[in-house]
Structures are given as C-alpha cells and as structure tokens.
C-alpha cells in the first residue's frame, strides 16, 4: 500500500522501523509458498515483494502483515494493491523512477529501493528473481535521472536554493554561507547547502547563544550579529530569516561591500516575512536576490518541467521492463534445455558403452578421440535448437509457435515442465546449470 491507496494513519501503523526491515523479510520466507522476499518501507509506502510458486501465496503476505504489524486485516481491506508478474515489476520500476512518489521524481526513493534490496540480500531473503528485479529497477531509476530532467531539483525551497546557488557558483565547495537569523527555515535551507560541502558556514543572530547552537549543528562558526555587515564581503550565499520588522540589508549597506568583493557574485536567499533584504538590492550588479515567493515560483516551474518529462521516463521504463520480462521469460527455457542436454548425453553415453563392448581391443587414446568427437557432434547438433529455444522463450513465441511445448513433445521431455525458478534455486544463491544471466 502507498500514499495512493491508504491514509496516513494506516501507513504509520504498517511502516517498518529501519532495523526491522531485514529480519522481517527473512521471516516472510516462512509464509507458505514464498521463496524470496523484500520489504520496501518508507513514509509513503509499505510494499512487500515476493517470489512465490503461485499467486495465491499473496494471501500469506497479508496474514504476515496482520501478525507482524498488529493491524487487523479488516482495517487494511480495500487499501491494498496486489500486482503479479510484469505488473509487479512495472510498479517497482515506476517507484524507483520516482513516478509513483508524492513529489514527482523526488530523489530519496531510489536510495530507499536500493536499501530495501540490500537489506533483503544481506539476510538472504532475496534470491535470483528479486536480485534481477531490484537491480533492473535501480538501473531504470538511474537512467531516468541521468537521461531526463525528472530528478532535476525544485522539490522544496531548500532544493531550489541549492539549484540556484549551483547555477551561480558551479561547485559550492569554495563558497561561504552566511546565515542571518537562527530560525527553523534558515536551518533547513542551510542544511541543504551544507550537504553540498560548502567551505564555511557563518551564523549571526541577535541572541548569540542561538547562533552558537545552530553553528554547532551545522559544523559552522557563530559571529556577533553586529559583525555581519562586515562579513558580507566574504560571504557568497546569504540566507536571511530574521524576525526583524524592517529590512536588515539595504543598498547603502551593500555598496561599499560590493566594491571589496571585486565582482564576485552575491546570492541572497531571503526567506523572512516581512523581508529582510530591501528589494532594490536586486538592481545592484552581481547581486542575485530571491525572496520566498521567487523561490516558490521557481519550485513550481521546476515541478511543471518534471511533469513534462514523464513521457520520456515512461519510454525508458518500458525498455527496462521489456528487458527484464524477456530475461524472466527466458527462464522458462531452462528446464527444457537441461532435459534436452541430459537426454543427448544419455544417448551418447549409451552408444559409447555399446561400442566399447563391440570393440574391446581399441586403445585408450582412440576412445578419448571418440569421446571428444561424439561430444562435439552432440554440441553441434544441439546448438541451433538451443539458441532458437532461448530466443523463443525470451520473445514469448517463435513465429507464433510455442517452441518450448513443441520441443517437449518432439524430444519426449515430459518431465521438463514450466519453470518455477525460485523452487529451482535456493534462497540467496545464484541458480546453476543452464540459468540465464540477469539483465
């Protein structure tokens, strides 16, 4: 369930604490018919991903949640979605690309999907199918973010501030941030900037103790409030959020400072209401002033840009889902191919045994040559059918024919029935034999 299907009260009750995700995934394997499991739990969704022998095993997932989170099935009824095979894969890919997020394209979800997979893998709950599924979903998420603008900023005022600062200064590693006012808003915005690795964070507040406290939280340095006009010459980015009733920065204060800055840009982020920086400061050369409305407007524009990218993300998603589905289908050929090879080998060995009885005086060197020749012959005979069977499995059919069924009938491979990869491979281990490589 997610923010689309369930109210926050229910999501809160079903959310897993960080430390519980891995162990719970492991416990989920005890549910009947479940071979692999992973739990994606964020503030907006709790989703269980499982590889199972049959769709009916999904009932066990509901029962597990009921037991594990202490939520009655009745409370959850109507808030679930149950997706199977390609639909489930497509959903995870959409989640990883940020298309299913509350804020379209938000960046955290890809990391959360990666964590979910890692935790399941760490406890051995993810097997070959979930390994392949999550790796493909993470790859799709990365492609969506590098090949389109779906993840390009503007998710909050803090993000917009960082985007704008980057457009002015490029790398922020050499920049100095000056914070005026030690309020919550300035702290939030400064945190976004601090995460980019700015060089120095200076904090000034009328109550110096508050400045010291905020500076320690941001690994910065507190300065006396009276010193801030002097520090404007060193600062590159100024975040202002004081409770002052009038402007605390104006043209007269800035003009001598700008001469000392020698043409370096100065970026003001004024998130105070009423505003701290006089609007005519924006007319000064190399000064960029953004108030709360400006930032909000940029954020809205970025959101519109991201929404326009959905089509391109869907195209990427479609390609990645196709690739995963083809790999998934190719697994169907595994039992047929294994049986076919075994049958060929049995025939070869039987013929060799018969020949040994007929030619008992043949030297061992000659037998070795015969061994190699027969093996090579069988491989040559099998090469094309095997290739065609793999292609047919990946594509669903071959020229409209069910080649796998045909191969079973032609070669009398009655034992080689449809696949159940999770059954054929132990949890947490790669499958053996003719297993296809994950996409």
């Amino acid at each position: 369930m997610s923010h689309r299907s369930a109210p926050i009260e229910l999501r809160e009750r079903l959310a897993y604490p960080d430390g519980r995700v891995g162990p719970a995934a492991r416990e989920l394997l005890r549910a009947p018919g479940i071979h692999e499991a992973a739990i994606l739990s964020t503030c907006n969704r709790t989703e269980l991903y499982a590889a199972a022998g049959s769709p009916s095993a999904a009932d066990g997932l509901v029962a597990f949640l009921e037991r594990d989170r202490g939520v009655a099935a009745l409370d959850m009824a109507g808030h679930f979605y149950r997706l199977v095979d390609a639909e489930a894969a497509t959903h995870l890919f959409r989640v990883a690309c940020g298309l299913d997020s509350l804020v379209l394209g938000e960046p955290q979800i890809l990391g959360q999907v990666r964590d979910c997979y890692q935790r399941a893998a760490d406890v051995g709950a993810a097997g070959p199918l979930l390994h392949a599924l999550f790796r493909a979903a993470i790859a799709a998420g990365k492609r969506a973010r590098t090949e389109t603008d779906i993840g390009r900023g503007g998710f909050s005022v803090g993000h917009v501030a960082v985007d704008l600062a980057r457009s002015i200064f490029g790398s922020l590693r050499e920049t100095t941030v000056l914070i005026l006012g030690a309020g919550k808003m300035s702290e939030l915005t400064a945190r976004h900037l601090a995460q980019t690795g700015v060089r120095v964070v200076l904090v000034a507040n009328r109550t110096h103790e508050k400045a010291v406290a905020l500076a320690s939280r941001l690994a910065g340095r507190a300065i006396r409030y009276e010193e801030f006009p002097e520090q404007l010459a060193q600062a590159d980015i100024v975040i202002s959020s004081t409770a002052a009733p009038t402007h605390v920065v104006d043209r007269a204060m800035l003009q001598p400072t700008l001469r000392r800055r020698r043409g370096r840009p100065l970026f003001f982020i004024d998130i105070a209401v009423p505003r701290d920086v006089a609007p005519d400061v924006a007319d000064l050369e190399n000064v960029f002033l953004y108030d709360l409305d400006d930032l909000q407007e940029v954020a809205e524009e970025m959101a519109r840009d991201r929404a326009a990218e959905v089509g391109r993300v869907e195209a990427i998603l479609h390609q990645e889902v196709e690739r995963f589905t083809a790999w998934r289908r190719s697994l169907e050929a595994v039992p047929v191919l294994t049986s076919l090879k075994e049958k060929h080998e049995q025939i070869r060995r039987a013929e060799l045994e018969r020949l040994r009885r007929q030619l008992p005086d043949l030297p061992e060197a000659a037998w070795q040559r015969i061994e190699l020749a027969t093996r090579s012959m069988m491989n040559s005979v099998a090469r094309d059918p095997i290739r065609r069977l793999k292609e047919a499995a990946a594509g669903g059919t071959f020229n409209g024919c069910d080649l796998l069924a045909a191969a079973r009938a032609l070669f009398a491979l009655e034992d080689a029935q449809g696949p159940d990869p999770p059954d054929s491979a132990p949890n947490g281990s790669e499958p053996s034999g003719t297993q296809e490589r994950a996409p």
Binding site: T146, E147, T148, D149, R152, G153, D163, L164, R166, S167, I168, F169, G170, R259, R261, R262, G263, R264, P265, A282, E285, N286, F288, Y290, D294, E297, V298, E301, M302, D305, E309, R312
Partner: protein, 270 residues
C-alpha cells in the same frame, strides 16, 4: 576532390553536433551530449585528414592559401572547443563554438577557387608560426566570447528569477567567467607573439604598402588593446559581471573582421 569531401564531412559533423548540443539545452538528454561529442571527434578526424590532403595535393603549408588558412582557423576552433567542453562540462558552449567553426569552413569553401602563385616569403617557417599564433589566439578569444555570451544569458535569467527553467542547463556563471578569463590569459601571449613575429617580417613586405595602416595590423593591435584592457580591469580593478562579458564579445567580433577585410601587406601572392 578528396580534400573538399573531407571538409564537407567535417562541416556536416560539426553542424550535427551543434544541433545535438542545442537539443540538450532544450531538453536534457545524455545521449545528445554523448553523440554530439562523438560527432565533434569524428569531424575533427575528417577535418585533419582534409587539411592533410590539401597540403599533400598543393605541396604547401595550409597558410599558403586563403582556403587553407580559413580551414585551419575552423579546425583550431573545433579542436580548442574539446578540452574547454570537457573541463567545464558545458556542452552548451558548442551551440556557439561549432557554428563559428562551420562559418569559417563555409568561408573557406567560398575561397576554394583561388589558386594563385605563392610568394616564396609565405613559405617561411616564421610566417607559419606568425599566422598560427594569431589563429590560435583568435580561436581562444572566440571561445572566450562564447563563454561570455552564456554568462550574459545566465546572468539575465538569474536576475529575472530563473524564469523558463533553462538556467539549470546553462553553464554556471562563475564557471564561464573563470573559463573566459583563463582563455584570454592563454590567448593574449600568443597574440603578442604573433604580432611581434609579424613586426619582424614587416620590412620585407614594406614595398607592398605600409604595414602600420594595414587592416590586419590594425585589427590585431586593437584586439590586443581590448583584451589587455579586459585583463587589466578584471585583475587590477576588480571588475566583473556583464560589462566585461560585453567587452569579450566585442573583442571576438573585432577578430572576425580579419577574415574578411582585404590587405595589401598580408597577400599570399607576389
């Protein structure tokens, strides 16, 4: 024939790369950038082969004809663009730099019919170094002007509070400002060397007119003064912002004149 074909291929590839870089400005797409870069490299290879074929067919340096000189000028612009783009991670610069290379190539095509008897003095190494220094410096000035155009564009977008969203795909202000400064810093000594070498050669060409009032000399000396003034104002006076960017754009416009004005002293023939 082969030289023309290779030059046309280079022209097309540069043009294609410029279009892809422009598309990347419109809607970010890593494939546009990767393909654009590949086209530039392929264009440079074709262009290099074209210049080689030209020299091999004429048994002259590229500077022995207007066609060869303009082709070399275009080649230097495209070649210099590659490290600048890689260093700045700003494919947007190709939107201006590569059409500039195409324009130079187009001018070269328009002069491809000329095949005059070459004065022996044109074949000297010193003349080649003189022309090459000036061409490289002008190519770098052109790239600096491209950076300046993006500076002005980005500056105005940010002053207008980022309306249009494109500001995120333009190179950052500080990055293009520093790049333009470094390009001028590298180009001015080359221009100085080119002018000094030209001054050494001047007496031998005095019969063909006064070299001091020759348009090439005037353009080169004026460009030297413009870029000298830029460096002075930026480093010693602490100027920054759009004023200096306009100076860079004006300087590049001035250097472009050299490819079009007629000269008595800078003739290739007797």
């Amino acid at each position: 024939m082969i030289q023309s074909l290779l030059h046309y291929v280079a022209f097309t590839l540069y043009g294609g790369a410029a279009v892809l870089f422009a598309l990347n400005l419109r809607a970010a797409g890593r494939r546009f950038v990767v393909t654009g870069r590949a086209l530039v490299i392929l264009g440079l290879l074709a262009h290099t082969a074209g210049i080689g074929a030209h020299c091999s067919l004429t048994h002259e340096t590229p500077f022995a004809s207007v066609y060869g000189t303009l082709s070399m000028a275009a080649w230097i612009v495209a070649l210099a663009f590659v490290p600048v783009e890689v260093a700045l991670r700003a494919p947007a610069i190709g939107v201006l730099a590569l059409p500039a290379a195409c324009a130079l190539l187009l001018t070269a095509f328009m002069n491809s019919g000329q095949a005059p008897a070459i004065s022996p003095t044109v074949r000297s190494v010193m003349v080649s170094v003189h022309v090459l220094s000036i061409l490289v410096s002008f190519a770098l000035f052109m790239l600096a002007a491209c950076c300046a155009v993006f500076y002005v564009w980005q500056y105005r977008l940010l002053k207008r509070h980022g309306r249009g969203g494109i500001f995120r795909r333009l190179p950052p202000l500080d990055t293009v400002d520093r790049a333009a400064y470094r390009l001028v810093l590298a180009a001015l000594p080359l221009l100085t060397a080119g002018i000094v070498l030209g001054a050494f050669r001047a007496p031998s060409r005095a019969a063909q007119g006064s070299w001091l009032v020759d348009p090439y000399t005037i353009v080169s000396l004026t460009a030297w003064l413009v870029y000298g003034a830029y460096l002075y104002m930026r480093t010693l006076r602490g100027w920054g912002g759009t004023r200096l960017s306009f100076l860079l754009i004006a300087g590049a416009a001035l250097t472009v004149l050299i490819y079009f004005v007629p000269s008595q002293v800078h003739r290739l023939t007797f």
